[in-house]
């Protein structure tokens, strides 16, 4: 049987995680191709609806990556994003979708290796959980 390759959506802050992804590329670091990056002006712009939308549209995992605590370019965006992610994790548990499929990470623009590490960590985690139960049978992997 073909190995399950999850689809993971990563909402990345322009000032940290997105730049860290760029750095990871420049450093020729390998990370799984399962990550789909969405650049955000700040992790604080993440909306509850967008996270659920990603799951509804077939994501097996979603994570939001913002700046290190205290380092948000917009001062508090990353704290707000984290609170929202935690809220949606609770909702996911209530509606029967594993809350581990959603996560929030803090990193800085200088952490290229950490970006690759997070990508690996999430891919491993979602592979263990298996495909999202929302994905219908026979749908492309």
């Amino acid at each position: 049987m073909e190995e399950f390759e999850p689809k993971i959506v990563a909402f990345c802050c322009h000032y940290c995680a997105y730049s860290a992804a760029d750095l990871a590329g420049s450093m020729r670091l390998q990370y799984p191709p399962n990550i789909r990056i969405v650049e955000m002006p700040c992790s604080g712009t993440i909306d509850h609806r967008v996270i659920l939308d990603a799951f509804e549209k077939g994501a097996d995992g979603v994570y939001v990556a913002g700046c290190m605590e205290g380092d948000c370019h917009f001062l508090k965006g990353n704290y707000r994003a984290k609170k929202r992610v935690n809220y949606v994790k609770k909702v996911l548990a209530e509606i029967g979708l594993e809350s581990e499929r959603l996560e929030f990470f803090n990193l800085s623009a200088a952490m290229g290796p950490r970006f690759a590490e997070i990508a690996n960590e999430m891919t491993e985690r979602i592979k263990k959980l298996g495909p999202s139960p929302l994905r219908r049978k026979g749908e492309e992997k």
């Binding site: 659920l52 939308d53 509804e56 209530e94 509606i95 139960p133």
Partner: protein
């Protein structure tokens, strides 16, 4: 504003358990401001309900719409085109909105997604507090702009009572004694002597005790 909070998801899901298609109606009035039933909350609830039902193997189809206000009949008109084939309507308005939809569509099953809490305002982002008891006969001019009807746990008009301790009410340490607040404010305004006037028993017939109320302004009524 009217402050409301969403019912637990589980409860809302149970209310529409036997429906295949529902119309979720948000309200752009008070419940948008108190982040309970605006466009955003409506879309989020719809999405959460769809996911829950899909995971249960009983997919739910949703239609969403957010009215400018659910408490004015003309703003419900757009629902006429959306309501036809739905099994139920989930209203994310206060109790008024739910009833307005139920009245307009007598043959539709209408359920509330929110619990209507009180008339109040926001203390900070995400925190709301009760400020008006809707007694129908305002006495704020007598009490320094602080309402004893709703902010005093006993609604007493000649307070404070013996349960006032260190400026707090005896019911909980985080509830201010309204009469302490009134006293402090009247003192600061140099109007303490006004509190010496004993307030007679309040006429509660203008409040809920007088039965369902109605407000009329004759000059703006449009005759048929």
């Amino acid at each position: 504003m009217i402050v409301a909070q969403q019912k637990p998801l589980e409860e809302i899901a149970r209310l529409i358990n036997d429906c295949q298609k529902v119309l979720l109606v948000g309200c752009a009035g008070c419940v948008t401001v108190c982040l309970a039933g605006g466009e955003k909350e409506t879309e989020f609830l719809a999405s959460a309900l769809r996911i829950k039902r899909q995971l249960e193997g009983n997919p739910l189809e949703t239609v969403t719409f957010t009215c400018t206000r659910q408490c004015d009949p003309e703003y419900l008109l757009p629902l006429d085109n959306l309501i036809g084939d739905v099994d139920a309507v989930v209203s994310l308005a206060c109790g008024v909105g739910v009833q307005y939809i139920a009245e307009r569509y007598p043959h539709k099953w209408v359920v509330p997604a929110l619990d209507t809490k009180f008339a109040g305002g926001s203390l900070e982002q995400g925190v709301w507090a009760e400020r008006c008891g809707l007694c129908g006969n305002c006495i704020l001019h007598l009490t320094g702009g602080i309402c004893p009807v709703i902010r005093c746990s006993k609604s007493i008009l000649n307070g404070p009572c013996g349960g006032s301790q260190d400026g707090k009410c005896e019911i909980a340490r985080d509830v201010d004694c309204a009469w302490q607040l009134i006293y402090d404010r009247m003192k600061a305004l140099g109007k303490l002597e006004r509190l010496m006037e004993i307030m007679p028993p309040k006429d509660w017939s203008t409040a809920r005790d007088g039965g369902p109320r109605r407000a009329v302004r004759e000059d703006v009524i449009i005759d048929a």
